[in-house]
């Protein structure tokens, strides 16, 4: 019976159609967006994307304007506090670096550069972030972050001055090798004592702090002698003479509410700061500086030339500074528009109506530094102009134009340390970028050097600390040019007379201050000796060398 039933069932099974599996379909129903009424599939907030976007901005807490510091010489970007990152324009490393700088970034989905002009000093990065809003709906939003690229000012002038000091005091006498690297100089010594001597010297002449490190190089187990490599790292205060500094609030209060905008007037082993408005000055030790360090808000490269329209002494005097109220106009505005600035300055003794002066333009300039930003954010007000020094540029240019070659030749020169130059760049990066960079690198130090030489001419105090040597060649050349000038026809002499009165003001180094370069004298003697003796008497030359 059972088998028959089974067979019957089987027969039936074969005859019937194969069963289709039942698929449970579920179509989500559409609801209306509660705000605008468009038909949307339901989401946790039940609002259409546009309505959510219009209500909520998930990029609210994220900083959208940032500043990054860039070194013009080697093209590296600063990662505070000390590390410099090498990155090509619009490369992956630069993108990582830029993204790391952003504060408040929660969940990043996508990032990419938006093209900007290579020389525009601006980088634009487009970021896509995701965040949870309103009952669990996940919203994705894209936005653009703007980076302003600011050039990191390298204070080569301090180094140039330091170089001269070291030469004068012979602090490099035990030095085995000197290497000029990115952002500094390396001195190599045989003995630890010699290195310490240099450090002591440095601490006496410039404000600096140092760290030391000891590294085991080798050791001899039989003699029980250990060879160490000692490394001393000296960090110099990154300020230069004539820098404009915005003191952080704490420092300003501790100095008795000295106006936050101050000028650095002298850099020796102490930093001298002067408030140009109140004529208050203070000296700061290296230790005090490092407790609350600050950087220059603007440095010498950013000065603008002004012409003095009116000056009125206010009576308050302090040594060689006198407080005066001035009316100035920018040289670029002069004659074109009527823009006049009023300011108080400490240069009352030196400036007269019609003089040219150099100063920092605070109305238009962009000053770097968080302290300055914080000060302005609290509602602080500064003068529009801070005059720094009298300008002799005009006179120099005129003198150069009239006097021809004579004006550019200085009858003195400086010696320099025997330095190896090491770029610190990896060997593989050859090509246009490196060539371009070294070109740029060549220009900036030249300007700094020129400025340094001008400073020496203008400031007798500075000169006293440095050795200037007679440049016999230049003096000869100047004498030749003077002889030629004397031989000129009488008609042209009038021009020279006119320029003389201007030249009087131009600071020059009096010849009496110059030292004779002993080495040069030795060289001259040797040359004479070589000229007299024949090559056969080569032994004599060797003798001279030994002496």
């Amino acid at each position: 019976m059972d088998t028959q039933q089974l067979l019957g069932a089987a027969a039936l099974g074969q005859a019937s159609m194969p069963m289709a599996t039942f698929q449970n379909t579920s179509t989500a129903s559409m609801v209306l967006c509660c705000l605008c009424g468009t038909s949307i599939p339901s989401n946790p907030s039940n609002m259409c994307v546009n309505c959510i976007r219009s209500k909520i901005d998930i990029t609210e807490g994220i900083s959208k304007q940032l500043t990054i510091l860039w070194c013009k010489e080697c093209g590296r970007y600063l990662q505070p506090p000390k590390h410099w990152v090498t990155a090509e324009h619009e490369s992956k490393e630069l993108l990582t670096f830029c993204i790391k700088k952003i504060r408040g970034l929660a969940k990043l989905i996508d990032a990419g550069f938006i093209w900007t002009e290579p020389h525009s000093m601006r980088l634009k990065v487009k970021l896509t972030v995701q965040n949870e809003v309103l009952n669990g709906a996940i919203l994705q939003q894209s936005f653009i972050v703007d980076y302003t690229v600011r050039q990191h000012v390298f204070h080569k002038r301090t180094f140039l001055f330091l170089e001269q000091l070291i030469l004068k005091h012979g602090a490099d006498v035990n030095c085995v090798k000197i290497k000029d690297i990115h952002e500094g100089v390396d001195f190599y010594f045989q003995q630890r004592g010699h290195a310490l001597k240099l450090i002591d010297f440095l601490q006496n002449v410039i404000p600096a702090r140092f760290r030391h490190d000891k590294q085991l190089v080798s050791h001899d187990t039989h003699n029980m002698t250990y060879n160490y490599k000692y490394t001393f790292s000296v960090e110099i205060v990154p300020l230069c003479k004539d820098d404009l500094v915005c003191l952080p609030a704490k420092v300003s209060t501790s100095l008795g509410h000295m106006g936050p905008m101050v000028l650095v007037t002298k850099m020796s082993n102490q930093i001298t700061l002067l408030d140009p408005v109140s004529l208050r000055h203070t000296t700061m030790d290296a230790t005090v500086y490092w407790r609350n360090s600050f950087i220059a808000a603007a440095s010498y490269k950013q000065v603008v030339e002004y012409v003095i329209l009116d000056i009125e002494l206010l009576g308050h005097e302090l040594g060689k500074y006198a407080l005066a109220e001035v009316q100035v106009a920018r040289l670029s505005d002069f004659g074109k528009n009527d823009q006049i600035f009023f300011a108080k300055t400490h240069l009352g003794h030196i400036l007269h109506v019609g003089d040219y002066a150099l100063g920092y333009d605070l109305s238009a300039a962009q000053l770097t530094g968080l302290d300055y930003d914080a000060f302005i954010a609290k509602g602080g007000e500064t003068q529009d102009v801070v005059l720094v020094r009298k300008s002799y540029e005009e006179r120099r240019i005129r003198r150069r134009a009239k006097g021809g070659a004579a004006a550019e030749i200085r009858p003195w020169k400086l010696k320099s340390l025997n330095m190896e130059v090491d770029d610190g760049l990896p060997e593989e990066k050859v090509g246009r970028s490196r060539a371009a960079r070294t070109q740029g690198a060549a220009e900036a130090p030249e300007l700094e050097r020129e400025r340094f030489l001008q400073e020496l001419e203008e400031d007798p105090e500075l000169r006293a600390r440095v050795n200037l040597f007679r440049d016999a060649e230049n003096i000869e050349r100047l004498a030749q040019i003077a002889a030629k000038a004397a031989a000129k026809p009488a008609g042209l002499e009038d021009d020279m007379d006119d320029s003389d009165s201007d030249d009087d003001d131009l600071p020059e180094v009096p010849l009496e201050e110059l030292l004779d370069d002993l080495a040069e004298l030795m060289m001259n003697e040797r040359e004479e000796a070589e000229g007299v003796d024949e090559v056969a008497d080569g032994l004599k030359d060797v003798d001279m060398d030994d002496a």
Binding site: V31, G37, N46
Partner: protein
């Protein structure tokens, strides 16, 4: 006519009120605002009763009822029961039931003809519901949620369900209840319809946050635009007279 209101700054009016075609229960609030809104709309036609349920103000969520009857949880006190019985018209049967799922308003949603109940409700309760309220009972879940009373609100004219209800489910429910249903939201995109909305055939009350889009959806599906209480009364009277005659 749909009205926006708030109970002590809360937009969940469905928690604090229960509205049917024959009566309205309102919670005892600190300020009289809530009560006066209901009064102004409803008291001409139906009794509006202020009460508490088991000492709480959660009148809307603890009770369920229609024009035929009212069901109360077993935690409801005797005084409250008596008070309600006194205030309500005699046609309305008031019954206290013993049920593990005591928040009856969350578990049962009904109009005058059919009811949806929580799938886990006892058989006894189901029978009492069918008996007291005079409805056809269906055990159903709405958009995968078992708390049918919270996630849908319907009257004899139409109803609104949870926004994530699928089209198939919507069709199924619609055919069960024999009324048009729509998936919608209330109180600016909130999906808890039962908490945000109370309604009967000619009036509806929702939270202050409800946007105009949501309000227009509510009014159109519940057919409130041209609904006047007098219309219902006169149409009923006509049919009654017909049957009498």
């Amino acid at each position: 006519m749909a009205t926006r209101c708030q109970f002590e700054n809360s937009n969940d009016v469905g928690v604090f009120a229960k509205l049917t075609n024959a009566y309205c229960l309102v919670a005892l609030g600190g300020a009289e605002n809530f009560y006066s809104v209901f009064e102004s709309e409803l008291s001409d036609h139906i009794p509006v009763i202020k009460t508490s349920i088991s000492g709480t103000r959660l009148v809307g969520r603890m009770t369920v009822g229609n024009k035929n009857g009212l069901l109360l949880p077993n935690s409801c006190s005797d005084q409250e029961l008596q008070h309600i019985r006194n205030c309500l018209p005699d046609e309305v049967v008031v019954q206290r039931i013993d049920e593990r799922l005591s928040a009856l308003g969350n578990c049962i949603a009904c109009n005058d003809y059919c009811a949806l109940i929580h799938p886990d409700i006892d058989r006894e309760t189901e029978e009492i519901v069918a008996d007291v309220l005079g409805v056809e009972v269906f055990r159903q879940a709405v958009a995968g949620n078992v708390l049918v009373g919270s996630y849908c609100a319907f009257t004899n004219q139409g109803g609104i369900v949870h926004p994530k209800t699928t089209v198939e489910d919507l069709d199924e429910l619609s055919s069960l209840l024999q009324i048009p249903l729509v998936a919608g939201t209330v109180n600016r995109g909130a999906d808890v319809i039962g908490a945000g909305l109370v309604c009967n055939d000619w009036a509806a009350f929702c939270g202050l946050d409800t946007t105009s889009t949501e309000l227009s959806v509510i009014e159109s599906v519940l057919k409130l635009r041209d609904a006047h209480p007098m219309n219902i009364v006169t149409s009923m009277r006509a049919s009654l007279i017909d049957s009498m005659a």
